[in-house]
């Protein structure tokens, strides 16, 4: 299979193909990528921290890998959907998926201080801003 060598090695072939397809679409439709990618991210900031949240019901912490490096956050993992034993599935809307998604972070963050909490199917990453990225309040004194 000569064509295999054209691709960079990926731990999971399907994830890799999906990422490639997404990248292709992102180039054609740069504004439509958000709704299709998994997981969906929300990002909030306050004065000292940036919070990144993702909905991932049924995912356990041990199924997740989270890295923050060079201003990029990458979340990858697997969500397993297993039907009960000896059952007949009448309706299926939930799927087993493997995912990997990266997001560029808006300001300089202290990656070593990233806190990850997974609760009720929501992943919350809390990352403190580094000192110089914080907005400064300049005191104006009357001369």
């Amino acid at each position: 299979m000569n064509t295999r060598t054209l691709f960079t090695p990926a731990t999971n072939a399907m994830t890799h193909v999906r990422n490639e397809v997404e990248r292709m679409f992102d180039n054609v439709f740069p504004f439509s990528s958000a709704t299709r990618s998994y997981p969906a991210f929300n990002m909030i900031e306050d004065a000292d921290r940036v919070y990144v949240e993702a909905e991932m019901p049924g995912v356990r912490m041990e199924d997740l890998e989270i890295t923050v490096a060079n201003g990029m956050l990458t979340v990858s993992g697997r969500r397993e959907v297993t039907p009960p034993e000896d059952s007949n599935t009448l309706r299926r809307e939930r799927k087993t998926i493997e995912f990997e998604r990266s997001l560029s972070l808006p300001v300089t963050l202290d990656a070593s201080e990233t806190e990850a909490v997974l609760r009720d199917g929501i992943l919350v990453l809390t990352m403190p801003k580094v000192e110089k990225a914080k907005a400064r309040r300049v005191e104006v004194t009357q001369g």
């Binding site: 306050d46 909905e55 039907p83 000896d86 059952s87 007949n88 809307e93 939930r94 009720d120 929501i122």
Partner: protein
């Protein structure tokens, strides 16, 4: 015509052992993704409800209609400035028609990692039985 009625999950409309999706589109709620499984003695509905706590999940049965609502508190109200929003926050909801063959008094539910599991036991009269045939 309500198209969800056409969407039979199992058997006929009149079937007594039946769990059939009746959810209609509503601007008020998010549609939680579900799986429905049938076992020998029960139906199991599994539903993704990220952000819903066990306390905030309401399950009600009235006139053969089962409703599941998962309340999700808006955790952004006090949190700061939104930089990126790819999903909205709101309550989840699904509605089902269930047959008379379900023992409503024995319905139970558990919630773990944002996944709700509802068990709907079949009443004894409709469970499939194995009849032993003895050789003479």
């Amino acid at each position: 015509m309500n198209t969800s009625i056409m969407n039979n999950d199992c058997c006929r409309n009149e079937a007594i052992d039946c769990v059939q999706d009746l959810t209609v589109k509503s601007p008020q709620f998010y549609r939680a993704a579900i799986d429905v499984h049938e076992l020998d003695d029960q139906f199991v509905i599994v539903s993704d409800m990220p952000g819903a706590e066990a306390d905030g999940i309401e399950i009600s049965v009235e006139d053969n209609t089962l409703e599941i609502t998962g309340k999700v508190p808006n955790r952004y109200e006090t949190k700061g400035r939104m930089l990126r929003q790819e999903y909205g926050i709101g309550d989840f909801h699904r509605r089902f028609r269930i047959g008379d063959g379900i023992d409503v008094s024995q319905i139970s539910a558990t919630c773990k990692d944002g996944v709700l599991t509802v068990k709907l036991p079949k009443s004894a009269s409709i469970r499939s039985r194995t009849i032993e045939v003895r050789a003479e």
